[in-house]
Symmetry: C2
Subunit: 337 residues, 2 copies
């Protein structure tokens, strides 16, 4: 910048003001400087600018992995959410830092803000780190998380209405005449627990008893779906429907069932969760509870930006929507049997 100033015959102050769009510069000086900058292809060093002005337009999206297990980031729903976050942040004029960290080291993510790398944090993922997030929030780190709203929460979250989602899915199955609905998911995760509560609520509302033996704990991985199929088929009294807590789980389950020549939806109806892109093209096309990644990403970003601007909006629950396609009741136009 000093060079540029010398060549242009002005001071660096003027160059700085010209290039940052400061109003107190002579318009023609600005034009001259801009042209010169372009011809030298010079552009402002953003590190120095950030240091001096204290303004930071980058947000860190933190995706913890389970402590120890360095499993890679593959979850279809979260990947989609990351894609949408990138889009939304770009649109809002922010940069996105994508950060993987051990869930046990989550408090260390606070450094991203304290060291000035990011203005705030969006935490994404399946985790049990309620307390750690609270600690971060207590340190004053601007923070928004995707997930359930919990008791004693000092940070603010955005998530879909899991209770409603669980209720919708389960009611859909019960209303189609199913009576023994299995639940697959890891209820140690708050979001899943809430879906399970929805599952129970639907049973209560429709006066159908829920059999605790049909609650299967499985991780959010394809292997969980395969395992669930084994366990369901080994049950003394078989189920006639399954509510799986993610589409990936549901698809892996259906795949394992059809390998065992169990027909879906005729013998066992299945509802998933997330509405990932491929759910519509599965066969049978998957009935699922949609949580919109676009809406979720936008809500997360807006909430964080609001926090950075000083306001403190409450946690938000995004509505969920049941998408009926063909894994509960075969649609006449699609059924291949």
């Amino acid at each position: 910048m000093a060079d540029l100033a010398r060549i242009a015959g002005v001071s660096t102050s003027t160059v700085s003001r010209a290039l940052t769009g400061h109003p107190r510069v002579n318009p023609e000086t600005r034009l001259r400087i801009e042209a010169l900058a372009r011809s030298l292809d010079y552009s402002i060093n953003s590190t120095a600018a950030a240091l001096r002005s204290g303004i930071n337009q980058t947000i860190a999206v933190v995706v913890p992995y389970e402590p120890g297990a360095r499993q890679s980031l593959t979850d279809a729903f979260f990947l989609g959410l990351i894609g949408s976050l990138a889009d939304v942040l770009t649109e809002r004029g922010y940069q996105m830092l994508l950060v993987r960290t051990d869930a046990g080291e989550l408090p260390g993510a606070g450094l991203l803000v304290r060291t000035g790398k990011a203005a705030g944090l969006v935490v994404i993922g399946q985790w049990h780190q309620h307390a750690q997030l609270n600690a971060l929030a207590a340190q004053g780190i601007p923070l928004r998380g995707w997930g359930a709203r919990l008791e004693g929460q000092r940070y603010c979250t955005v998530g879909s209405d899991n209770l409603q989602g669980g209720r919708l899915a389960t009611a859909h199955l019960l209303r189609s005449g199913r009576r023994r609905v299995a639940f697959i998911g890891d209820v140690s995760l708050p979001e899943v627990e809430q879906r399970y509560q929805g599952y129970l609520a639907a049973h209560r509302t429709l006066h159908v008893p829920a059999d605790p033996a049909l609650k299967l704990t499985e991780p959010f991985l394809p292997a969980g779906g395969l395992d669930a199929a084994q366990r369901l088929l080994a049950l003394p009294s078989r189920c006639d429907a399954v509510f799986a807590c993610s589409d990936v789980l549901a698809m892996a389950l259906i795949s394992a069932l059809s390998a065992q020549r169990v027909r879906v939806p005729e013998e066992i109806a299945v509802v998933g969760y997330d509405d990932v892109q491929l759910a519509a093209y599965f066969s049978p096309p998957l009935d699922t509870v949609r949580q919109s990644v676009q809406a979720g990403a936008a809500a997360l970003v807006d909430a964080l930006l609001a926090r950075l601007a000083g306001t403190t909006p409450p946690s938000r629950l995004l509505p969920t929507e049941l998408i009926a396609r063909g894994s509960v009741r075969a649609e006449p136009s699609r059924s291949a049997h």
Copy 2:
């Protein structure tokens, strides 16, 4: 840092040296300063450090969107690649900036490096921006791209061996006895064109004539698969196999075919490309050409870091692998019919 120095009774030089692990500090002074820093929970401002030292440990991953069309980032393969890139970069001690930009503005991505936001670029995505990438590379921007190797390329790419992939997929279909194999993909994309060349090569090798009428141009979107199904079924002389250039395309196609009561693989065999996570759980389980996102991400990062270190390794072609499951020949244990 000045405060910390005052409290510790030393100069900021010493604090800096203690905290960055400089050897010329008394070990016990260092311990004292580290303890103090921890108790005040102070940590080095990385913006200032980066400014002064000129060291930048962040890499920008750039994902262009088609000019004008602000379509959101949903491609399963690229999302998976992004996830793996995040993992690999973290492991190598780098931060990852995820950047969306209009493909027409790609040269602007050079600013990320010139302004000091990132040390180098990884460009990901389906694009026609050969010339623009060349321009970036000519400006001296450290750059690696995912994709095909092209004539006159001044930047270096990492990609899977599309020619081999196309050949593997097509030969697999022809060897299963199919004689009319359709090709679905957008050959204006270099990677797809190479897969098409592989498709032709396989026909030549196996002495089967390739019918140009079976080459359908479709974009990499589920809608492309649906459209392809319509067009294939409307053909005067039907095909008995399809090589689809992505798994998403293949799944959407199969979904549309079964809605029309065309059975896969009995009537039409299908091979996809990518081996996305859900391909194995589709029904029928999808035969596909695997490109490993982990290997791809690692190769991209290593190539870029090598470039940053001054060496210039050549472009790399990663091997592809055919995964046979059940969409060409039904596997006995899995067939549900």
